[in-house]
Amino acid sequence: MSDTATSATADLKTAFDAMKDAGARPLRQSAWDAFSREGLPNRRVEAWHYTDLRAALCAVAPLRAAGPATPALARERESCRFVVLDGAFRPDLSDVSALPYGVSVLSLREALACGEAEILAALAGDAEDPTLALNAALMQDGAVLRVSPGCVLERPLEFANFISGGAARSVFTRSLVILGAGARATLLESFTPLERSGSQENHALVMVLGDGAKLDHVATIAPQSEDAVRVVSLLATLGENSALNSFCLVEGGGLLRRQIFATLSGVNADVSFNGASLLRGRDHADTTLVIRHESPGGKSREFFRHIVDESATGVFQGKVSVAPLAQKTDGAMQSKSLLLSDGASMNNKPELEIFADDVVCGHGATCGRLDADQLFYLEARGVPKPRAEALLIEGFANEALERVKDEATRDALAARVAAWLRMREAL
């Protein structure tokens, strides 16, 4: 890795070497090799064209050690929660004693130690992304969940990732959820700093949906400090007739890359990825999706709304790839963005890559500011300008929020959007 050798990669190498007793060495080694072939991605790497991670990560913070013993962790809603604090799975803070019927949980460390083939294979999930490979090489801990075939869970499962404040530290977590055939569940996922810090986080969640399984997934990424660098990846593999509906609310904070790699490997699989991002200050938030249709009859829907204020930068890259075998694929992607200030930027790159002929695929992307006519309409009726703007922005964001099926979850998300808007209005 001649030209990609920077001091950051050297630091990462040191961290990797220090992990030699962490288990699953062959898996880590091959992941490290994959990472070091490319190094930290930069603008010249097409998939990272708009997000220069190498420039942002000029110094790698040391890996985070154990977090505080008894932190006060907020709880937004009733769920069966699994807490990962500062990169370590914390059974003591999780609802492990009252697991729903058919659910089993292990920490990533335990899972790697016992080396069960199914779990190791799922954990090794890779999508030709250097940061994901880096995550596999350096994964510290996480939660490994299994839902037995046919189980229908009423109570949502939750992966809660917390990061305590203080000096900048690196965190690498990898969690896994395996849904057996015909299982149904709701999974909440949250990334919350206990106190803002310039942390360097790399989280990955691997989902494996068995045939006929159905999963509703809602993730929230809370704001972090301006010097934070976060990569949050989601890897999903879908079996026959399975369905995944995923939503993510991004509230910016430093540099954030949210990436989704979904593979529709079974016939008639159905995915829907939706999201809204609220960016301000000097936030840089990148949402990148790669959807691979590998079997016939797949359906994919992507629906994103980006609200970019002040000097923030939004990025959306969505690639739908249809393999020659995947006839009858139905794909539609929409990314709309709203620029609220002169310093704001938005980069959209929706992409289609189609090798099968009997498909219907399309995408749409727009970029603009608030509609002057709509603003005028509201102002003419006595609504003050800031309030009128907030109303319109809220309506714009709600178009994405509507894709969340569960009402309570949707309300909680709407409340976060409203809070963000109140802050904007107050300025």
Partner: protein, 489 residues
């Protein structure tokens, strides 16, 4: 699935080898030895009797080129090009320049006749009395005949080979050459700057509406000759010009490299309409021997209210790497891009446009229709960007792809970058195959499957065909159906 199976079978049996224009002409040519070096660059320059400044310009481009690497981001695959194994200069024997059509080698005229180039006035007027077309024909690298010069001269329009313009209008060439596509722009443009052979030069003076459509036919002829055309069109304030470019090439065994550069400059209130029908040899059924077409085309809307419109119909070439772009620098300027790209056999097309909004209230419109059949790959790659000061920029993009057969690929890679909140960008893209319902409807009314498909494809590309000047539209329509012959069931 019977219809699908049938389509697949028919695609397999496409006879791409039966390229209609696959013939070559035997004319002795005068060429430089193979390979590229400073000496070759000087040789080309000396052959053309160029002034020192141009020789230096070429040399600096060559030196720059040596430090560059070939771009690899496009979705095209080809064996490595050995730049030392090409001829960089070849001119038909009768170089001193014929003074009239009678002096032109009759063999050459017959070649044009086969291609259907309307070189003679009566041919041009046949059927189309009111419109006239001026042709600056390029045979290999040197322009050999120019018609209608007088009438153009009366209007004050300069339309001549660029080598002649260097001699007769050095101030114009020097001012504008390389001002849109800088010497160091990209690998292929830099190569072109170093070794460009010839091309067309157009200057339309202020307030003049060019009295006729200008047209150049390119034709690659000598074996192993890279063609490096350089076209420069300047529309001065308030003027209008429409330029047509069309090409066919004879069949060859080895890949032929083509790296042209086209620069358009539109000053205040000027309008340039540039239309291309490209039908170069696409290679045989295994993709061997087709033309590699790496072209840099860019228009600069330099003045206020200027307007540049690109229309292209791409049916040929083994590889097409081409992104006609508009730099919308002047306030209220407009850029348009209309494209039909048809790929069949083993063709690879990576084409699109760039609309760079710099000025206030600039508008752009992109309509791209891709049709892929056989085992071809067809990619639309386009950039729309608004810079900080591009207040009120507006873009609408529509990219549709049609797939015929299940061994081809259709890809869409748009880049949409906005740095101004008042910029309004809309992009939509769809990919689908010809609907069975539409086919059924047409066939039920007595059309054969092939006719029905042709009808639907024609409807699919209609938006773009309408943008072509009339003479070209007819030719383009024919080309599209020829290109798809045998690919539909």
């Amino acid at each position: 699935m019977a219809a699908l199976k049938e389509t697949v079978d028919t695609v397999e049996s496409i006879d791409v080898d039966a390229y209609k224009y696959g013939f070559s002409t035997d004319i002795e040519s005068d060429k430089a030895p193979k390979g590229l070096s400073e000496d070759i660059v000087r040789f080309i320059s000396a052959k053309k009797d160029e002034p020192q400044w141009l020789t230096d310009w070429r040399l600096s481009a060559y030196r720059r080129w040596l430090t560059m690497t070939e771009p690899n981001w496009a979705r095209v695959e080809h064996p490595r090009i050995d730049y030392q194994d090409l001829y960089y200069y070849s001119a038909p024997k009768s170089t001193p320049g014929p003074t009239s059509l009678e002096d032109v080698d009759p063999e050459l005229l017959r070649t044009y006749e086969k291609l259907g180039i309307p070189l003679r006035e009566q041919e041009i007027l046949a059927g189309v009395e009111v419109r006239r077309v001026a042709v600056d024909a390029v045979f290999d690298s040197v322009s050999v005949a120019t018609t209608f010069k007088e009438e153009l001269a009366r209007a004050g329009v300069i339309f001549c080979p660029i080598s002649e313009a260097v001699r007769e209008h050095p101030e114009l060439v020097r001012k504008y050459l390389g001002s849109v596509v800088p010497v160091s722009d990209n690998f292929f443009a830099t190569l072109n700057s170093a070794v460009f052979s010839d091309g067309s030069f157009v200057y339309v003076p202020p307030g003049v509406r060019c009295p006729m459509e200008l047209s150049t036919y390119f034709r690659i002829n000598e074996k192993n000759t890279g063609q490096f055309e350089r076209t420069l069109i300047i529309a001065d304030a308030g003027s209008y010009v429409s330029y047509l470019e069309g090409c066919t090439a004879p069949k060859r065994d080895e890949n032929q490299l083509h790296a042209a550069v086209v620069e358009l400059v539109a000053l205040d209130d000027a309008e340039i309409k540039y239309s291309t029908v490209q039908n170069w040899y696409p290679g045989d059924s295994e993709g061997r021997g087709g033309i590699y077409n790496f072209v840099t085309k860019r228009g600069d809307c330099r003045g206020r209210n200027s307007h540049i419109s690109w229309t292209q119909v791409e049916t040929g070439s083994a590889i097409t790497w081409k992104y006609p772009s508009c730099i919308l620098r002047g306030d209220n300027s407009q850029g348009e891009f209309y494209s039909i790209a048809v790929s069949n056999g083993r063709q690879q097309v990576d084409s699109g446009t760039k609309m760079i909004h710099l000025g206030k209230n600039t508008k752009s419109r992109i309509i791209s229709k891709g049709i892929s059949a056989g085992r071809s790959q067809n990619t639309y790659r386009g950039l729309v960007s608004a810079h900080r000061k591009a207040e009120g920029a507006r873009n609408f993009t529509n990219c549709d792809s049609l797939l015929i057969g299940n061994r081809c690929g259709a890809h869409t890679v748009p880049y949409i970058e906005s740095k101004n909140p008042s910029a309004q960008f809309e992009h939509e893209a769809t990919t689908s195959k010809i609907s069975q319902d539409q086919l059924f409807y047409a066939m039920q009314r007595g059309l054969s499957a092939e006719e029905a498909t042709a009808l639907i494809v024609n409807g699919f590309v209609r938006d773009v065909l309408q943008q072509l000047p009339m003479e070209f539209a007819v030719e383009a329509q024919k080309l599209i159906s020829i290109s798809l012959e045998g690919s539909v069931g």
